[in-house]
Amino acid sequence: EAGVTQFPSHSVIEKGQTVTLRCDPISGHDNLYWYRRVMGKEIKFLLHFVKESKQDESGMPNNRFLAERTGGTYSTLKVQPAELEDSGVYFCASNQQENTEAFFGQGTRLTVV
């Protein structure tokens, strides 16, 4: 069974550019989460999808971040325009039932220069 996959693994972009991160959850997992770890800080929740619906987007930093999960399968997280403080590792996770362990992807390391 394939795990959670994220693409790209690394991205270096200039301030003001746009970047789109992709996450493919484990097949059949209704819950999909995005998290971010800025260097030296704790991992922080960004948002939670249940199928194609945004269940909780309270962690999204601002309106430069847009997440979608059309069809309830893969998800994208777009940052437009990117700022220096957006640099960090973006993790995606999925699970079938809430409060069970979530399976994480390898993360996308985003560097904004």
């Binding site: 989460y33 800080k41 939670h48 269940q55 809430e98 994480f104």
Partner: protein, 112 residues
């Protein structure tokens, strides 16, 4: 505010010695608690969880954790450390809407 704390940035142990990575929590209700590990250049990997029942939870790679309600702790332990256990360890707890809150992480270095 609900929180998870890992008081140690780094833990160093010699191979073969027991290891402990500390975690304390402050969450409402009956806590669910998780440990994840991140090996170099890898994603977060689930190690073990406490939901209810036995306070001593056994997980992957010989790790275990002890839930202590009175001390609000969930320390990760292993009787005999391996060099390959060197990694970044995270304690986490789900809160409202099931999102996870995390400790800052503890870097474990096992010296040969």
């Amino acid at each position: 505010a609900q929180s998870v704390a890992q008081p140690e940035d780094q833990v160093n142990v010699a191979e073969g010695n027991p290891l402990t990575v500390k975690c304390t929590y402050s969450v409402s209700g009956n806590p669910y608690l998780f440990w994840y590990v991140q090996y170099p250049n890898r994603g977060l990997q689930f190690l073990l969880k406490y939901i209810t029942g036995d306070n001593l939870v056994k997980g992957s790679y010989g790790f275990e954790a002890e839930f202590n309600k009175s001390q609000t702790s969930f320390h990760l332990k292993k009787p005999s450390a391996l060099v390959s256990d060197s990694a970044l360890y995270f304690c986490a707890a789900p809160v409202s809407n099931r999102k996870l809150i995390w400790g800052l992480g503890t870097s474990l270095a096992v010296n040969p």
